[in-house]
Symmetry: C2
Subunit: 392 residues, 2 copies
């Protein structure tokens, strides 16, 4: 497996999982289901491994990928899912002197099958989904038992697929639901332990969300670096051009969609929701102004506007003259000058600053040095059920 | 010219300029020498244009590239440099309603020739250089006169190449030197007006600096996204691997250099200076610790260390036990956890956060939303001589 496949954006990993399902190809899906201590990736990180040794995605910073690949052949031969835990903290030193990662990492390995299909279809179709997988416990849900690896799905309102294994027990579902709802909303994953028939069951709860949407208005050459960088960090990207002739998919081959529209038709050019981020960079004052007005009518939380602050103030004055005075809340949604203050003025450096701002806003972060920030690097999610400390 | 050529990192543009010089190929060099108001790119932005219409680099957000390309043929035919000014603010509206950029942009177009060779060789050889070009004035330095386009070079101590045109006048050099020194230090460019023989001469002063150096310690797959992103924003990148067998240039094809070293030999593995930034991500506690110790002996202003804060504190305790207590100033140079707080945990998202921090530190910026920052987007340089408001 090359580093290129290892570092693929999550959407591309899902594309490869879907391709394997479509082809009914033999493959193993490996998913991090629990992390104790610090690790490069969080629960929910996944990779697909094929019998020829190739694969896509990552579960650690390269520390476990070789071992997981070696196990994948066994999993395919057995046809059974299994859970493996690696303690990378070392025996004598809690910080992993001799090995790569620092933490106890638990991975679910399973022959890729149709039970993961609903997750893939939702993720690639633009819908969030929750998935609950039985990954341990006593008796009927322990490794090797028929219910091990059974799945139920969560759509924000309730579970489906509940006929299988532990999920046929209404008490189990009731206990899982608050945690599942939280993880579904946050797009996070966690293994929890629930009571069943006096024993315990470990269930991996994964909230899978589609990537955030980026809509870029513009058709100049400066759009391409923004698209390229946004795709690398896994936005779904639509380019909206008001100059049909100049745009076109061949100019923005990395965009998911290239739309030709009129400024006044912005509201119908895309689906607008709260996980959609708009960047306005037509370099045309009038087009920018109309796009801005239209975008304010949508629920998008972020409107980045290229150009200096004075230009925006001029725009506001014109709007006010037309009887359209922006509220404080509307101004809060508009980021101009666009981007984070990182310095540099080349096309990629400008694009970099824009996409850095998009990431911070989409992930609800205050841009600052992590070294100056209190708390863990990754946000932790507090879930209703007790997180299992050791899912094995 | 494709958007890919348009958005090339500056080093790649210089590579193409050198290739044209080496091949003695016909080409026009276009350089932004003055900007009034706001523009996508700053003075010093440049592109090379070839007779077949191809080119590399950018001078605006695509607003002037077509016009400049059209002029390039004339410039080649004439064999003479010329200066063109575009007022993109529009006649009736100061914000450029109908056109792309907002500003008055002045561009020097010249047949690419050996007078630019010293600049190219310095930039690509890793040395800063200043270059002064006569771009206007009265009498002997006006457009079309023999001294128009004449050059002198600045090495941080004084001018060379001073036999030509206006630069043979010691008073002119004395007047230019403070501004040149400031622009040389800051890597900025500006057109200034100086007195000569009772008249005035306009001189474009360009401080050209090599890209900042990034040295990444590590050989895991997570190194590749950092290298790729850092190259896009124009760092010169060296990967240092402590595991010779695993590294190698084929694994990091985008790196400028891949070095195999022992942790204790870090000080000799590269040239270390104040424009070099180190990222330590071996994922091995002992290797990281030794690299850290060695890097603290170099003048690098930034040492990014991957891993959680606790891991660094553990490292500090071990160092203290060995009698090596870090000073407050040393701790200030170490950024851990590495990166800006942008959220996300995929390999590219982690790499993005790291390179964003590198940009902010290299450009001396406090990471924050530009919309929340006072002052202009681009840092302005105060130079000794009066900047010319209209170099034409």
């Amino acid at each position: 497996m090359s580093t290129t496949d290892w570092s693929l954006p999550e959407t591309d990993v899902f594309d490869q999982i879907r391709a394997a399902l479509d082809d009914d190809a033999d493959a193993v899906l490996a998913t991090v289901i629990d992390v104790e201590g610090s690790a490069y990736r969080r629960p929910g990180a996944k990779m697909i491994l094929r019998p020829d040794g190739s694969g896509a995605g990552s579960i650690t910073a390269g520390c476990l990928e070789d071992e997981v690949r070696a196990l994948a052949a066994d999993v395919l031969a057995d046809g059974d899912p299994r859970v493996e835990t690696w303690d990378l903290t070392g025996e004598d030193d809690v910080w992993g002197l001799g090995v790569g990662c620092n933490g106890v990492i638990t991975v679910l390995l399973e022959p890729l099958g149709d039970s993961y299909r609903p997750v893939v279809e939702a993720r690639l179709g633009g819908d969030p989904i929750g998935v609950a997988t039985a990954v341990g416990g006593e008796g009927g849900t322990s490794a090797g038992s028929p219910a091990f690896g059974a799945r139920a799905y969560y759509d924000g309102e309730g579970f489906s697929g509940i006929a299988a294994g532990v999920f046929s027990d209404p008490d189990v579902l009731a206990e899982l639901e608050p945690a599942m709802a939280t993880l579904y909303e946050g797009g996070k994953a966690e293994t929890v332990t629930v009571e069943m028939n006096g024993g315990t069951v470990e269930v991996f709860l994964e909230g899978v969300r589609p990537p955030p949407e980026l809509v870029v208005f513009g058709s100049g050459p400066d759009v391409a670096p923004v698209v390229e960088l946004a795709k690398l960090v896994d936005f779904r990207v639509t380019v909206v051009s008001f100059r049909g002739g100049k745009a076109g998919e061949e100019r923005f081959p990395r965009a998911d969609e290239v739309v030709s529209s009129a400024p006044a038709d912005v509201d119908t050019a895309c689906e607008w929701d709260e996980d959609t981020y708009a960047v306005v960079m037509t370099h045309n004052f009038l087009d920018d102004r109309i796009a801005l007005e239209e975008l304010l009518e949508t629920p998008v939380p972020y409107i980045g506007l290229m150009g200096p602050h004075d230009r925006f103030e001029e725009m506001c004055e014109e709007l006010a003259e037309d009887g359209r005075t922006l509220t404080e809340a509307e101004r809060e949604r508009i980021h101009t000058p666009i981007g984070l203050s990182l310095g540099g003025d080349s096309p990629y450096q400008i694009g970099y600053s824009i996409v850095a701002e998009l990431l911070a806003v989409a992930n609800d972060r205050t841009p600052q040095h992590l070294s100056r920030r209190a708390g863990p690097i990754h946000d932790r999610v507090e879930v209703g059920a007790d997180p299992s400390e050791s899912p094995e």
